[in-house]
Each structure stands twice: as C-alpha cells, then as structure tokens.
Symmetry: C2
Subunit: 423 residues, 2 copies
Amino acid sequence: MGLVVQKYGGSSVADAEGIKRVAKRIVEAKKNGNQVVVVVSAMGDTTDELIDLAEQVSPMPAGREFDMLLTAGERISMALLAMAIKNLGHEAQSFTGSQAGVITDSVHNKARIIDVTPGRIRTALDEGNIAIVAGFQGVSADKKDITTLGRGGSDTTAVALAAALDAEVCEIYTDVDGVFTADPRVVKKAKKIDWISFEDMLELAASGSKVLLHRCVEYARRYNIPIHVRSSFSGLQGTWVSSEPIGDKKVEQAIISGVAHDTSEAKITVVGVPDKPGEAAAIFRTIADAEINIDMVVQNVSAASTGLTDISFTLPKTEGRKAIDALEKNRSGIGFDSLRYDDQIGKISLVGAGMKTNPGVTAGFFEALSDAGVNIELISTSEIRISVVTRADDVPEAVRAVHTAFGLDSDSDEAVVYGGTGR
Amino acid sequence: MGLVVQKYGGSSVADAEGIKRVAKRIVEAKKNGNQVVVVVSAMGDTTDELIDLAEQVSPMPAGREFDMLLTAGERISMALLAMAIKNLGHEAQSFTGSQAGVITDSVHNKARIIDVTPGRIRTALDEGNIAIVAGFQGVSADKKDITTLGRGGSDTTAVALAAALDAEVCEIYTDVDGVFTADPRVVKKAKKIDWISFEDMLELAASGSKVLLHRCVEYARRYNIPIHVRSSFSGLQGTWVSSEPIGDKKVEQAIISGVAHDTSEAKITVVGVPDKPGEAAAIFRTIADAEINIDMVVQNVSAASTGLTDISFTLPKTEGRKAIDALEKNRSGIGFDSLRYDDQIGKISLVGAGMKTNPGVTAGFFEALSDAGVNIELISTSEIRISVVTRADDVPEAVRAVHTAFGLDSDSDEAVVYGGTGR
C-alpha cells in the first residue's frame, strides 16, 4: 500500500460541484489501496475577496492579521471537502497547517517551511482516514502565530508533506493537462511533456512557466519527491517531474524541454555609471535593501571615450516604482546620469539540459528570432537555458518561431485549455 | 486601570464600514485607560452562507468538519477588526478560540466550555495590545479538535473570558439598546430596563427574550460577572445584568421585570393515558431518548369515569416531527389513545422576583388576559414567573394587555429598533 499526496488548486474546488468531483477522485485513489493525504487551496476567488475586504478596512493590512484572515479560505474548502468525502461513505478528517505540523519561520505573508511534524496526519492515516490538509499555511516556530507561505504555497505544502511522510508521489491537480513545451494559449501546437527533470522544470518555472512554481520544484528536488502534474478534470496522465524518468517513460532526455515566456517584468537601465569596481555592488545593494528580487542583469562594455557604462536589469513590474525610488534616493552614493524604465518588454527562454552538449542550440535560437524579425535587447544564458528580452508585442511570434525551429510542434491540432494553478 | 471584555455580534460587523465603526469604539475604551479584550462573531450572513455551502456538498454535514468550516467566519471578522484597529494607530492581535485558551468538551456543534486558559491573551494585554478573540469556538480538551459552542456561543465566550480574566464587566454590544420590558416590535411602549438581576434575566431568556441567551446568563451568574447589554450603534447606557444594582442604579427591585413571549413552540397532547404510576415517566423517557428538549409539562386531572388522563407538553416546533415519531413508535409501551399536535400556539410569560411576595400578581395576570379576551390553554408557574399558552394569534394583544396592566408602559412614544443578537 502506497502513500499518495494530492494537491488541488482553487480552480478545482471553485464551487460545491467541483468539491464533489474532487471528492470522488480522492475516494478512487483510496479504493486503489493507497493512503491518501490531500492538500487543498481556497475555493476559486475566496482569497481575492478576503484581500478586498482587508483593503476596505485598512490600506496597509498588517502581516500577522492578514495571514489570520487569508487562512480562513483553506479552512472553508478543506472542511467542505472532508464532508463531501464522508458523504461518499469514506472517513476523512481536515487539518489546518498548524494541526498538520507545518512549522514555518515568522515572516508573515511569505513564510518558509522549516520543519514538518505530521504526527496527527500519520495517526489519521493509520486509523484509515483520508487526511485533508489546508495548503498555503503553517504556524511559526517561535510565536505560534498563523503564517502563510505566499504565492504557490499550497504546492509547497503538498511537496513538504510528501517529503515528511515519505510519499511515493506528490500529485498536483490543476486545470491543465500538465506541463507543455510552451504556453498553449500562445502556441497552438504546444505538446504536453510526459517527463521532465527537476533541473529543466526549475528553469522553466524561473522563466515564466506558471504550472509549477520554482520554490515547490526546488523542495521536491531536495527531497527527491516525484511530482505528477495533472488535470483534475480528466483522467489523463500528466507530466512527471523527477530526477529520473519513471516506469515506461525511460526515454532518452530531449535536447530541449520547452519554451517559456514572461511579460510580467520591466527593465531598468542605469545610464552613465562610472566603469570602476564597486559600482554594480552599490546598485544591487540598494535594490536588495529595498527587498526587491531581480531577474536578469546585463552590463554592456563601456565606451572607452567616456569611461561610463550602462547596467540593465529586469524585475517584476509591480516592484518598478519601488526600485526607481530607491535608486533615485541613493543617486549621489551610486553616481549615475539617469534611469530608464521600460515595462513594455517580454522575455523568451529556451530550456533543456541537452543544450549543454549541443553547441548549435544558441545559434539556432538567435536564427529563429532573426527569421521572425524579432529584435533582441538583452541576452542571458545558463548551462541549460538561454533567455532574451524583446519588445512585449513580439513575444507571441517569437515563442512560436522558436517552438517550431526546435521541432517541438505537435502533430495534433487539438486545442488545449490552459490556466493558472491558484495558489 | 480596568479590564473590559466587549462582545460584538454579527450585525455590528456586517461589512467593512461596521468593522471600522466598531474599531473606533474599541479604541475609545482603550483610550479611557482600560485593558480591552474583544470577542467577535462572524460578519453578517457569513455563517448562513457557510451552512448553505455545507448542505450543497453533504446532506448531513459531520460534526467535526462542520465546526472546522463554521469557525472560518470568526477568523475573517477578527483579523479584519485587528487590521482596522491597527489602522487607527493602536496595537491589536487576533486569537482563535484555541489560541485564546477556550477549552471545551468534544460535543461538536454545541460544545460546552470546560476551562479557559487565557495565557496568550494576558501576554498580549501586558504588552499593550488590544486582544481580539474569535467567538463561538474552542478546542476540545482530549482530541485538540476545533469545536463550536452552538447558538449564542459568542456571548458565552465573552462571559467565560471575562470570568477567567477577572474583568470588571462584560459588555455585549448588539443592534438594540438593551433588554426591554417586552419585545418593542410588539409593544410600542416597551421600556428599556436599566438593571435586572441574573435570576430575572434567566427567566426572561427561558421565556423567549432573545437579547441574551440562557446559557450565557447562567455562566455570568455562576462567576458573578456583570453584563452590560448595549447598542454598538449609539453611545447610550444599556441594560446592566448583575447580582446587585451597580452605582446609581441602586433602586429597589421592581416587582415585575418584563413580559416575554415565544411563538417558536408547538404543543403535543398525549390523549387517553392510563392514570397510573409510571405513565408520565414512560412518555418523557421516550422523548428524552430522542434527545428532544421540552419546555412546559401539564397533566390534567383524570376523568373519574374512564381512569384516563391527558398529558400535554410544549417543545420547539423544529422537534415536533421527531417527537411524534418517537411516541408513535413506542405507543404500545406507553399505552395511549392518540396524539394531538398543535403548532399554532404562543407562550406569554410574566417575570419578576418581586412576584414571590406579591400575591396579587397571578390574579392580575389572568384578569388582564381575560379582559383582552384571550383564552388560556395551559398554565405553568415558577417562583418568579408565570407562563400561559394561548393561540398564536392572540399573543401580541396578550403581551400588550399584560404590559399595560402591570404598569410597564413607557411615557415616551419613541419607536425602538429591535433585532436578534447573531450568535
């Protein structure tokens, strides 16, 4: 008898019908002889509604209370799911993050899991129950306050529980059939990936693929927990994410896993920076002190005539204002001429561990973009990824061109429904 | 510096505006030099919406999960209230029933408080915080499961915390100005009661007055916690409920506290019961085994010719079907001719400790009803209460007649808005 952790996102439990459908699927897994632990997100728009309420009473909702508020969402969905399972004649018990032993640090709104002590879950399973656990939440080790894990927190909860319970697999149920070679909304011929390595999945997640978040994949890789991303609306096999191909998926790894894109970032160029040691450090210390995460960083060669250079970096659009303010405030300390802000950019990334040993990939990537008439503004590469920044308008065409050039197009013309994973 | 426990019902925190209004009032109490603990119910219709969801996924929602679900309501309101207070520049922390140390038995959906260990609340207060506590909920002593306290649970939470923290007063904020000598929707000239003893308040609550529930008053009496029932919409003094009149309310106790009525009950008459020992016991053992609470019980003198008698009792209409079924099932064991069920009845009660030493009260009560042309079907009395059952249609007229006859009418013609207290 195996132990399976299943995670259902908000879109899978958006209403009573969805909850009943998910309950049936859970009971099936139980009937197949598994011990089943289910991690569930808040129903549909619940979280947005709670955030809206919070903003009505306070323009800057405080961390601790904001977490207390948001965790009500999972409390509702998990209790309803347990009821729906009982109604099918099976035993189920719901547990808050705290009850499930999800111990975090004290950073409200984006806490990190520091330990999982699932004693009550073990007991519930040993007594023959299906255990339903609230995703996205935990309890702080020091103050015993309720915390939330931030975006993608429910996926992380599921993987962390799977690791602590030594589960065979962590199944992430969502509203798409799996991870695709590109966003099917942009590339009609995108193919579902049957298996992908943790490393490639990490790069895809970092490059804009929204099916799994970086943090959750990182956690799964550290504890070597296979993830199976699949649709809660169909019975199809989805995408396996693991260190080695599983079962009949023992195929040679593809050179390229997929093409990801991201239009949620902006670019800041710091113009006229003296080309001397310590300048880049001064800029990025300023940004770090403002608690802003940046993505790509590119420094051009300085013009010999002036001794000045430009440094560009990308960051989430939502952090743009804050970054500009922080840099302006420290202008004299850093010493630069001006700042340029551009939020009409997009990033296209090609990901695949196979490119390490295939020197033609980089060239083929640039050729495909050139053939499509797409101008490249920034380039950044890792061993298994190439990313470029282009105009935002060029992104769909660029993604399609690269997808075709690397032979990723599917033969089927079937349309794929694609959406977010909730939290 | 005193310690005050304030409780706000669902109608007081029905929306963001209500929450902000309540936050201001709480901050005022704090500014007046008090330590403030606030118990809050779920917002407006939240609980009904959650119950509705539960019924959609399961026709018979299970106890443990149902409690987990419902407690999400207070989690939302308390977090929002804490945010709203912080937004006014004061420190506030919210606590679930479990965090506040509200320990209960394991009877889900109607748990009883067995202990209160408010260590975290004390700490929060000592650090200068306003403590916000979720009403209506606790944690079971044995299994550490979340429980709810049933109807009126938030009032009970407030009184229990007031007792555990040795508060000066437990203020119950609601949408009416206090406890009235009769329901102002029925009796326009009903007066607000300035002070009422625990005993009289218990009888009023048992007789249909909905402002405070029996259980909460009972708890307050046991620990001698003064309750101040008042409106969250006005700054007026409300009704003090305590063992002795407080401050300038040291007046001689009125003979009559008020007139209560109740049209939520039905009457069952067991017809043709052999007039011999053990018959009543057989009937009420049957009812008790079906877990039905009954109210009045009346047995008429038996007719000498037949040796048979009739036994009538009243019970909540919602339990009527269950009681009839239970009795029919045990018809041969009990031995009766037939059952009569009547849900068109009403109960009028006159309450006042003064009636013990005023023999004319009973006579005056019946005369008032007679003068109003109201027929009496059942009579039941205690030392400080007389209750009669009449036709439901006669109730408003009967209440007004009794209210006037005992000199309770107010001189003012001002209309009073009157409603329930949430839970």
